[in-house]
Symmetry: C2
Subunit: 569 residues, 2 copies
């Protein structure tokens, strides 16, 4: 259905539009859209700058790398993105993954960016986006919920002002609790205040309705102020904390742990350094693929925003962002759930909003780095905690208990293993859900009725792992209650049969004949195209799909006996 | 259905009988059975002795190890076996596997026996026999066909009398062809004569009918002679070749390559040597599991012999044979297709025939080793080639082309990779067939009808990899041909839905509502037990399985619109 495009049409205008979605919206661009895009872009910019500084800390990199990673995605997505509100950039989860792979060395992180960009581009070009279908919702939920807890707890040390706490989650919990007495009062007070402020402003934001046009000016102005400060709350809180720290610095005492000196200016445009890494041989192929795949897991679904994204095109956009980003010292980026939501709520119309965001990031790199020195780490920690807390979904456990209990298995496996290592959790979750799928194929539901004839109705198609099971089911029921007439196999739910299952059916037929029983296949589906039905001339088990009642022959040296008949419904 | 037995009944007599099938047939044992069992046991013994010597050569071990491996299975299977005619012992394929793992050193081979016995016992006790369901018929056929070619070609060097030909298949073909000029005339003539004799006697055997009782005595005696020589043709040919070689030896010239000196007597009963192997650390866990799993692949199916085997019980018998066998210097054994067929054709009645076979093997170890010195290698090569040729199934390619073309993929992958390394071929084949299964789940057949309403009928249950695909299918058809009424999802073939698929349905419903369309689910199956249906209270998508017509609510903040209804058929 969704095969690769026809080669004769690959250079047509719709095909180019599909690859460069900017061509769809740019000709229709209007001034009204520009206004909304500028507001949305600026709002996202005010969110991304403090978050970028904070996430770099999660990734274990110097804070400027967060900003280096934040602008390329805006520009690339503007050209290649299919969704108007998705924003690519540093995210909490990707930072967590980078921290475990990059060994706190920017050179590794940049090389990872380059490699995961290559993997994503290759997946997009080879149309491997369908692989993402095999990551089920429980796995994603388990992963994001665990990551939310891990990342939040990772920041507790910054709020408490503790130094030298290990990265591993369990060690971190132990060490943080053990050294809780060493808490620095200034950091703790500031961190908690920032948390309170962010939570309060966030609650205000969600409580805020839309301003009606008919209200008096002062109401509208105050609404506007409240709305702006609630939407740009991250920037506001970080700004206030920074000013506070600056005042203390001027007064000669500093109760807060500060971010410290940041090199000013834009990153140099240069080829990622391979020599150092390949020399040590520490980034094997499996790691690139893991990071590439992990970033794909984070492909944000834009379905809640009234349109569908095209996974392969998104992979292309993300891959190109990472590939180009690696030339400007970016660490791997992906779609940000939080900023995408901010973008949508602010009313963005086209991906052009990203241009404003990108420009803001570049401007802050050029002019604000000396201010960043004074940002307290506790304030950034508060920003991170508020960003990742919504990713924790406690209700999913209750929901799955009610909806489908079996899905709790991949959820719990992923959730628990993610505390050990995030990537192990994802891999284990995908494997477990794959095994559950295979189990469903190997043991399809069998509806058995023993009134008069033995009627067995498989609940799904017959694939090879179920061949033995079908025979066992029939034989067991025949042993339990011998049937005088024939055995009926109701194939109404069977849309395909493979060779091993055909052999199993032939053997069943053979066994039944020895007991003097006939096997009737009923409800066979007429195949929509020839060849998709199962023909088995080897042992003369013929299903004739184009007559209403076909006889099945099994003539390979068997004595004449009751024939198996199959009727096509 | 086939869960582990109820704990309260595990010590009852039927449960003990299930574990020790000997208790089923021993009380009913009769003199008539004894006669047939003795004949069958002796016939299998006359087959197994020359084959054992030959297969040890395939495994790259001294020939006496073939005999050491041949008797334990007979005794253990007599107690634990479920099938009357299955014989456990050295086989061509297992010898091929051993040759690639044991590095031509008996110590490694014996340790492999011990370890694969442990793996098999564990699988049998943990009831993991169902894992064998995931090895499809095309994979087994590809594997045995490739092994048949590899093993046959492996013996060409012995027929030609070439020395020092490498083990790897492609190198072997190259080297054999390059050095074909060095062929030793004596070996070649003897080998080809043996091949001809074996083929002729084999053809005679299959052409031979059963002797009727009313014929004159001389006819019956001649029939008996022909039948015996045809059935015990391996022993006959090896005996003749050995006598010929002995005559030449006595005359002072020796045109044949001989087997050489074999230590006389039974193997010592001793614990397998761990020290040498663990010291070098060359048999990692993965290899044990590989050999254990490979021997399970060879679990012979006794279905053609009018009864069913119980995979877990067979695993127990095979595991115990290997475990005990490792104490008498056996290399890994498995069920032999060829000797099982001989056993069945000779009319064996119970596994007691194995006792005769085992006794024959022990007697030849005790008294015949000095004769084995004179057996020409070319004669053993002819025995092997005749034993493995029937395993090559050329017709399978044509059959699969007609029955199910997709199954050609695992067949060809297994077949071709097995020439590189047998174990890689099996693993790749199992992976490919697993991926094809997952693909079938991810892209279930969708029957779409666009006359009037858009009716979409998934051909199987909805699992998470298909969630996006279902939405895409509906959306694509809606784009191509906008529907005025509602969209109907015909769920008659859907027997289960998982959480991710429910979310996909909820999103589809959401999208359709925005287009003013309703979504009707029809043909829902009433679940056989509560909880197996899919309840989704999270977003108020309720399927009420216990009323004939249920309304589906989606109230999570959506504007009122055409409701989705679902009717349970």
């Amino acid at each position: 259905m969704s095969g690769p495009g026809c080669p004769t049409r690959c250079c047509s205008f719709p095909a180019v539009q599909k690859r460069l979605p900017v061509l769809r919206w740019l000709p229709r661009y209007s001034l009204a859209w520009l206004q909304l895009d500028v507001i949305a872009g600026a709002t996202v910019g005010l969110t991304v700058v403090p978050q970028a500084l904070a996430y770099a800390e999660v990734a274990g990199l110097p804070v400027q790398y967060g900003l280096y990673s934040s602008f390329m995605g805006c520009f690339v997505y503007c050209l290649l993105g299919t969704a108007k509100d998705v924003t690519l950039g540093p995210t909490a989860i990707m930072s967590l993954l980078v921290s475990s792979y990059a060994f706190h060395d920017p050179v590794y992180a940049v090389l990872l960016t380059f490699l995961s960009g290559c993997v994503q581009l290759a997946m997009g070009l080879l149309r491997l986006g369908f692989l993402l279908d095999f990551i089920s919702c429980p796995v994603i939920k388990g992963f994001t919920s665990a990551a939310s807890i891990t990342i939040s707890f990772n920041q507790v040390k910054n709020i408490l002002g503790l130094q030298g706490v290990p990265r591993q989650f369990f060690l971190q919990v132990y060490e943080t609790l053990r050294r809780i007495g060493e808490t620095r009062a200034g950091d703790a007070v500031l961190g908690l205040s920032c948390l309170l402020a962010l939570t309060g402003l966030g609650a205000m934001k969600s409580g805020l309705g839309r301003a009606a046009g008919a209200e008096p000016l002062c109401t509208r102005v105050s609404y506007c102020i409240v709305w702006t400060s609630a939407t740009a709350r991250n920037a506001l809180v970080v700004l206030c904390a920074g000013l506070l720290a600056y005042s203390f610095q001027v007064m000669g005492c500093q109760p807060f742990t500060l971010t410290g000196r940041i090199p000013r200016g834009l990153p140099a445009f240069r080829v990622p350094l391979f020599s150092k890494v390949t020399h040590n041989g520490t980034v094997p192929f499996s790691r690139m693929v893991q990071v590439g795949a992990a970033s794909d897991v984070l492909l944000p679904s834009a379905s809640q925003n009234d349109y569908r994204i095209e996974p392969n095109q998104e992979l292309l956009a993300m891959g190109l962002t990472n590939l180009l980003g690696s030339f400007v010292s970016s660490y791997p980026v992906t779609g940000s759930f939080g900023r995408t939501a901010v973008n949508a709520q602010t009313g963005v119309c086209t991906p052009a909003g990203g241009l404003i965001t990108g420009a803001l990031v570049l401007l802050s790199l050029a002019f604000l780095t000396s201010f960043f020195y004074y940002i307290p780490k506790a304030a950034l920690a508060a920003v991170i905690i508020c960003a990742v807390t919504p990713m924790f979904d406690a209700a999913i456990f209750r929901t799955l208990w009610r909806v489908k209990r079996l899905d709790l298995v991949p959820l719990c496996v992923t959730f628990l293993l993610c505390f050990w290592e995030v990537q192990y959790g994802i891999v284990a979750g995908v494997l477990v859900s794959g095994l559950l799928l295979l189990y469903a194929i190997a043991r399809p539901p069998m509806k058995v009725s023993t009134q008069g004839e033995l009627v067995v109705q498989p609940g799904s198609s017959l694939h090879f792992p179920a061949a033995e099971y079908l025979r066992d089911t029939v034989c067991k029921h025949l042993q339990a209650a011998p049937t005088p007439g024939s055995v009926v196999l109701d194939c109404r739910h069977v849309s395909s049969v493979d060779y091993t299952a055909v052999l199993g059916l032939a053997e069943l037929l053979h066994e039944l004949r020895k007991q003097g029983l006939a096997l009737t296949l009923c409800g066979l589906q007429v195949p929509s195209r020839p060849g998709s039905c199962c023909w088995h001339r080897h042992r003369r088990l013929l299903w004739r799909p184009n007559c209403t009642r076909a006889t099945q022959h099994l003539e390979s040296g068997l004595p004449p006996g009751p024939a198996a008949t199959c009727c096509i419904s």
